[in-house]
């Protein structure tokens, strides 16, 4: 099993570990609900070193990514991050990734841990098929990645850097920490403001010490506390963000995810653009009236929680399936995401979730469930 470069830090904070995509990662340090609240109200530090970090560089790097990604790459600026999907030929979702543009021929692609090997093979296959002059360099093992998320994070970072708090959302900057390069982006997966930081493995101990110098993490009122993958999941669910293996998968076409902002079916129309893998299949789905099911949010006035795989019904009729669900720590009631027949996606539509024991009354609700103030 792969160990995070932050393992010592986790052990010092009494982490409970879990295996995730071949990595030993902290699921929580104490209570998931408390870590969740800490992030919503102040700040949390997440180790996301298991995420894949792949550098794509070379003369054809941009064109190469244009073919891989469902979203336009050609209009990105230096220092910009962009959320996009990577599809298979059938338009199914291979992964959702963040592309960071260093310059026209150098990019970092952050991919899901569970898809890294698969994507590396896919990248290589597309590169070879198109004879692109591009280098694919998996930098996951030599780097670490942490996310600092929460309303008090930028204030804390302002003590170290004047520049970082001025970054706009989905922008990044490269800072030098002594002789080491640190990539800081204003991105995240919690619905809160904050940053994600990619740094060399060898810099982890020093960077944590420096960063957390004035944060007394073990004090009850610490501005920043460690938060695990458990809280990360409930936070992203409240923020209406999809997760591979739940809302996204190879069998789920990109259009039914509702991530329309991340899919440009006309990418090939610009002279700098190119058709992406899966584009033709998605156009066909669109032209035939669109996907049969769409992703919706569900809210419940219940104590019981819908879980992945539970059937969604209208009356006796099976009309959908739950992909994620949790008792929302912020809202105090259960929330879920589900794929349902497209004529039942209107906000307020009353549906039932079959737990196998009982049917829970649920309503289609707008996402995100939670939006920061």
């Amino acid at each position: 099993m792969q160990e995070s470069p932050l393992k010592k830090f986790h052990q010092q904070h009494n982490a409970q570990f879990v295996e995730f995509a071949g990595w030993e990662m902290p699921i929580r340090y104490g209570s998931i609900v408390e870590e969740h609240r800490q992030v919503r109200e102040s700040g949390g530090l997440f180790d996301v070193s298991h995420m894949g970090r792949v550098k794509v560089s070379g003369r054809h790097a941009r064109r190469f990514l244009e073919v891989l990604c469902t979203r336009k790459i050609y209009d990105m600026q230096d220092g910009q991050c962009r959320y996009t999907l990577v599809c298979n030929e059938q338009g199914g979702v291979k992964d959702d990734v963040i592309v960071m543009r260093h310059d026209d021929d150098e990019y970092t692609v952050v991919v899901n841990a569970s898809n890294r090997e698969k994507l590396l093979a896919h990248f290589e296959q597309v590169r070879t098929a198109n004879d692109f002059a591009a280098k694919i360099d998996d930098q996951t093992a030599k780097t670490a990645m942490v996310a600092l998320q929460g309303p008090k994070v930028m204030e804390m970072i302002g003590k170290f850097s004047q520049e970082i708090p001025t970054l706009k959302r989905y922008r990044f900057t490269v800072k030098n920490l002594l002789i080491l390069k640190v990539v800081v982006s204003r991105t995240g997966y919690t619905g809160e403001d904050g940053v994600e930081v990619i740094l060399p493995t060898s810099a982890v101990d020093m960077a944590l010490k420096l960063l957390l110098k004035d944060v007394k993490m073990d004090q009850p009122d610490a501005a920043i506390k460690p938060a695990g993958l458990g809280a990360r999941d409930t936070l992203r669910l409240e923020a209406g963000m999809p997760l591979y293996g739940h809302e996204l998968g190879e069998e789920i076409d990109a259009l039914s995810t509702g991530l329309d902002f991340a899919i440009s079916l006309d990418k090939d129309q610009d002279e700098r653009g190119a058709a992406f893998v899966g584009q033709e299949a998605l156009k066909k789905i669109r032209d035939n009236g669109g996907p049969a099911r769409k992703l919706v949010g569900l809210t419940l006035d219940d104590k019981r929680t819908p879980r992945q795989g539970m059937v969604v019904r209208q009356g006796d009729r099976e009309i959908g399936i739950v992909t994620s669900g949790c008792m929302s720590p912020t809202l105090g009631h259960p929330i879920a995401m589900a794929y349902v027949d497209r004529d039942l996606t209107e906000i307020g539509t009353e549906l039932g979730v079959d737990t196998g024991r009982a049917t829970l009354a649920a309503k289609v609700a707008p996402m995100p469930f939670y939006k920061r103030g």
Partner: protein
């Protein structure tokens, strides 16, 4: 903390504290820690009869939903309404205030498969 030795523990992490022909049933601290923050507790109604190893209710946490089993056969005679009203009791005091149900034992044979606190604690440090 060690496990109380006045009760026996099942493979599925319930504790059974036998008192005469009744037993008190709850979840081990190990199980509760695995579940994390408990958000919902449901026990079948008083009067429900069940066979050994049958589910007598369920516990939900932020992360997951899990069945609760009783190693013996019996009938539910009391449900801990306190833990139903305040599921966090299960997190804070799983071996005490967080008990789930009182059971009238009709066949205790299944309890033989349970282990004592020392054996359970060896495999499930808390």
């Amino acid at each position: 903390m060690s496990y109380p030795n006045d009760r026996v523990y099942s493979q599925s992490h319930e504790w059974h504290k036998v008192e005469g022909d009744e037993l008190l049933l709850g979840l081990s601290k190990f199980a509760v820690d695995q579940l994390t923050d408990v958000t919902y507790v449901e026990v079948k109604p008083v009067g429900t009869a069940f066979k050994a190893g049958e589910s007598i209710g369920e516990v939900e946490s932020v992360k997951t939903t899990s069945d609760v089993y009783c190693a013996a056969a019996g009938e539910i005679v009391e449900v801990n309404s306190k833990v139903v009203d305040d599921p966090s009791l299960l997190n804070s005091d799983p071996h005490g205030e967080g008990w789930l149900a009182k059971i009238k034992i009709t066949d205790k044979a299944g309890l033989d498969k349970c282990v004592d606190a020392e054996t359970y604690g060896r495999d499930h440090a808390n």
